[in-house]
Each structure stands twice: as C-alpha cells, then as structure tokens.
C-alpha cells in the first residue's frame, strides 16, 4: 500500500471502518511512513472527539458502590494506613459450637454476646480514636458516632437480656453477590418484635446511600430502619419489626437513598431466613 492509497483510507481507519486485513495494511505502511502517520494523527483528533458526542447518561449509583467495594476487597494492600492489621476470616464464634447441641449452643452464644458487643464497641472506639487525630470536624463527628455506637450497644445489651430471659432464637445472615464476604447473625425472640443484627464485611456506600433493613412476610416488605456500617464494614443494629418476629419469613438488607425508602428499590446485600421452611 502506498501513500496515496493510505490517504484514501485514513478517515475510515480512524473511525475503525476498515476490515481487519485492510487496517493491518494501513498500519504496516504507517510503521514506516511518518508523513502518513502525521495525517492519521490529525484525523484522530476528530475521531476521538466523537467519544464525547454521545448523550450523557448517569450510571446507576450502585455501580459506584460496587466498584469501590471491589477496589477495596480485591487488593489486600489497600487497607488504610492506620488499619491495625489485615483481617483474616476466621470462623465466627457462633459457628464453633455443635449445631445439634442447641441448648448449649444458645447458652454459649448468649454468654458471648456481651463480650461481642464490648468487642464491637472497642473496635469502633479504636477506629474512631485514630480518626480523631485528623481534624476538629472529624473529632466532632467521631464523638457523635461513638455516642451513637454506645447507645446502640446499650440498647443491644438490653434487648439481648430479654432474648436470653425469654428464650430466643438466632439465624445466620448471609451476604449476597454484592457482599460476598459479608456474614453475621440476627438474634431475636420469636414472640417479640425486637431483633439485633450483627454483621461484618459490608461494603462502604457512596453517593449518600444507606443500608435499610426489611422484614419480609410473604410478598410484604416492612422497613426495620436504616443504618450505616462502620468504616471496617461492621454493623450492630437494633431493629423493631411491626409484628412478632415469629411471623417474619426473612430479613433483607438493601441500599437505599439517604432517609430510606417506603419499599426496597436498591440492591440486596444481606439476607437471613427466620422462619423454618
């Protein structure tokens, strides 16, 4: 292919309209002809502008959350500099008791709950204290979060006390494909409306989204409130169902806009089956 032939095809080449063989012939010529390469570079200027000529469409907010979650989880070295240590996924405490020994398992789980709550608080305090070194505004927001965390933990302890006294139940919480490493437990008294959700591995949310807990009965989905996970993906949530939990089939956690939704619109991140099938 000579210069005249390439000149005839330059515009087609830059918009990718040439069949592969013809494009290769052009490239072979360009590799040895700087004059034709200059012409192609000029033509490229126009072709590249075409990429921004399309109508603007806003990507869904869940895409941002997904990408940031994947960025944070696919690369272990991405932990923030102040992270204490990489977290290894050991078996949770509740799974270390034999399933068939139900009473023992329940009693043991109940016994560790105050410790778990304390540990969660401790972790939050450590995390928050590290952030205090940043700015004054960060100190204020951290203090507020700490207060809420303590209130949440105190409430959780109170509910858990009732759970223990009244004979409670628990169910394993699983992450969906959007939170594949998430895991947790939900503790509740079937005849009451209070439940405690403890989970970790939740991705950080962006764009003002929050997590929202739903109680599912048949086709009905009733809000149990919104919450944010801690920086390290953990959460401790005390939720109140609008009916006794014995009639709830499953609980689900979705992402919704700040303030929550009347019905779930966002992607699911956690779920647990409460009622045995």
């Amino acid at each position: 292919m000579n210069c005249a032939e390439v000149a005839e095809l330059t515009d087609l080449y830059v918009v990718d309209a040439l069949p592969a063989e013809q494009a290769e012939d052009v490239e072979t010529h360009l590799a040895t002809c700087s004059a034709c390469q200059d012409d192609v570079d000029h033509a490229w200027e126009v072709a590249k502008l075409l990429r921004v000529a399309v109508p603007g469409i806003e990507p869904p907010s869940s895409l941002r959350t997904r990408i940031m979650h994947l960025a944070a989880t696919e690369e272990p070295t991405l932990l923030r500099p102040w992270a204490v240590a990489p977290r290894t996924r050991s078996r949770p405490l509740w799974s270390r008791f034999p399933a068939r020994s139900h009473d023992f398992r329940w009693a043991a789980t109940a016994a560790v709950i105050p410790f778990a709550v304390s540990a969660l608080m401790g972790l939050e305090i450590v995390a928050l204290q590290r952030e205090v070194s940043a700015t004054r505004s960060e100190v204020e927001s951290a203090s507020l979060a700490l207060t809420r965390s303590r209130q949440s933990a105190e409430l959780a302890t109170e509910v858990m006390g009732r759970v223990i006294v009244m004979g409670g139940a628990m169910a394993t919480v699983q992450g969906t494909e959007l939170a594949p490493t998430a895991t947790g437990m939900i503790y509740y008294v079937p005849s009451s409306q209070d439940a405690i959700l403890v989970a970790d591995g939740l991705p950080r949310l962006y764009g003002g989204d929050v997590y929202q807990l739903w109680f599912v009965v048949g086709e009905k989905r009733m809000s149990g409130g919104t919450f944010n996970a801690c920086e390290d993906g953990r959460c401790l949530v005390v939720a109140k169902a609008p009916m006794p939990l014995s009639s709830v089939d499953t609980i689900r956690v979705t992402t919704e806009p700040r303030g929550g939704s009347d019905v779930p619109h966002g992607n699911g991140y956690l779920w647990a089956r409460l009622k045995a099938t």
Binding site: D16, V54, I67
Partner: protein, 194 residues
C-alpha cells in the same frame, strides 16, 4: 481542599499510593462520560456497567497503565472504554464468523494524546463542540460515521446494511470526517492541517 480543585495528576499519585478516595473522586469526575459512551455502543445498561467497572478497576489495579505524558486521563479512560466496548460488541455479533484477536496490552495502555482536554471542563467543551459540528453535516454522512464508530461496523457492512454501493459508504465517511475537521478547525477545537 475540595475534590474539584484537585488535579487528575495529583489524584493519580494518590491512586498509586493506594488511596481509594482518589479513585472515588476520579469516578465522580469521569464515570458519566465513560458510561454514556459505552452505553451508546452496547445499548445495554448491564453490559455497560461491566465495562465501566473493568475500566476503573484497571485504573486502580494498574495505575501505571496510564501515562500522563501521552494525554489527559479522561481521554485515556474513554479510549480504553471505547476499545473494550467495540471489542465486546464485535465478539457478541460475530464471534464464530469473524473471530477478533484479543486486545493486546500495549494497544489499550497507550493513551490517545491528540484529544487533550486538560480537565473535565475541557472534556465538556469538546463534547459541545463535536455535537455542534455533527449537527452541521448531512445526516447520511453522520449516520455512516456513527455506524462505524459506535456500532463497530466496517464500511462493507455499512454499505450492505444501507443497501448502497461500497464506494458510497466510503465517500460518506470520508466527506463527513473532513467536514467535521473543517468545522472544528474553524472553532479552534483541533489543530489546523498543515
């Protein structure tokens, strides 16, 4: 410092040092342009999301892929996204009949240096200019260019689809591109041809 005032270069340095908040700012800055382009090519929101995800995770996992000396970051992201989307479109259309080679790493890592908006404002100005220019060329020429650039069709396929002689499809693309260049040169958006 507000995110909007941080340069792409500074954000890329933070990406290299593994600061996820920098990636988040870059996503905020360019995701709409990248998603819009990919959606235009693939016509499928789910597939477009996958490509956008791939592009930004590539930026995160291989920040050294982007060479600032070769062009603006927005241009590079659009270049990688365009290549990925067209590649996916062609594989989807005729994987068995016309197998395409996988993109070589060197092809996708080279930044397109010609379009060089210094920042997001440059990108938006470029978008307005090319839209104005496209509106001024004959619809048949515009359509032929779009079929090639956004639908991954060769001039042979375009001629067949429009039921026109091969030479007509080629001429439409060539004339359309030259008119676009002429308009954009007059606006000072692209450099004057020597």
């Amino acid at each position: 410092m507000q995110p909007a005032s941080v340069s792409d270069q500074a954000l890329m340095e933070r990406v290299v040092s593994r600061d996820p908040s920098a990636l988040d700012v870059l996503y905020e800055r360019y995701a709409r342009a990248v998603y819009s382009l990919v959606y235009r090519i693939l016509g499928d929101g789910s597939a477009a999301e996958d490509v956008v995800q791939e592009v930004f995770l590539k930026l995160w996992k291989q920040p050294e892929s982007y060479n600032a000396e070769r062009g603006a970051l927005g241009s590079w992201l659009l270049s990688v996204a365009h290549n990925r989307a067209i590649d996916q479109l062609r594989r989807r259309k005729s994987r068995e009949e016309h197998p395409l080679p996988e993109l070589r790493e060197s092809e996708e890592l080279v930044a397109d240096g010609a379009l060089d908006p210094a920042d997001l404002a440059g990108l938006n100005e470029a978008a307005a200019a090319i839209r104005r220019a496209l509106a001024q060329i004959p619809p048949a020429q515009r359509r032929a260019i779009e079929m090639a650039f956004f639908e991954g069709k060769t001039h042979v396929e375009i001629a067949a689809e429009l039921d026109e002689p091969l030479g007509t499809a080629k001429t439409r693309i060539r004339l359309g591109m030259r008119k676009l260049r002429s308009i954009l040169e007059a606006e000072g958006v692209v450099t004057q041809t020597a």
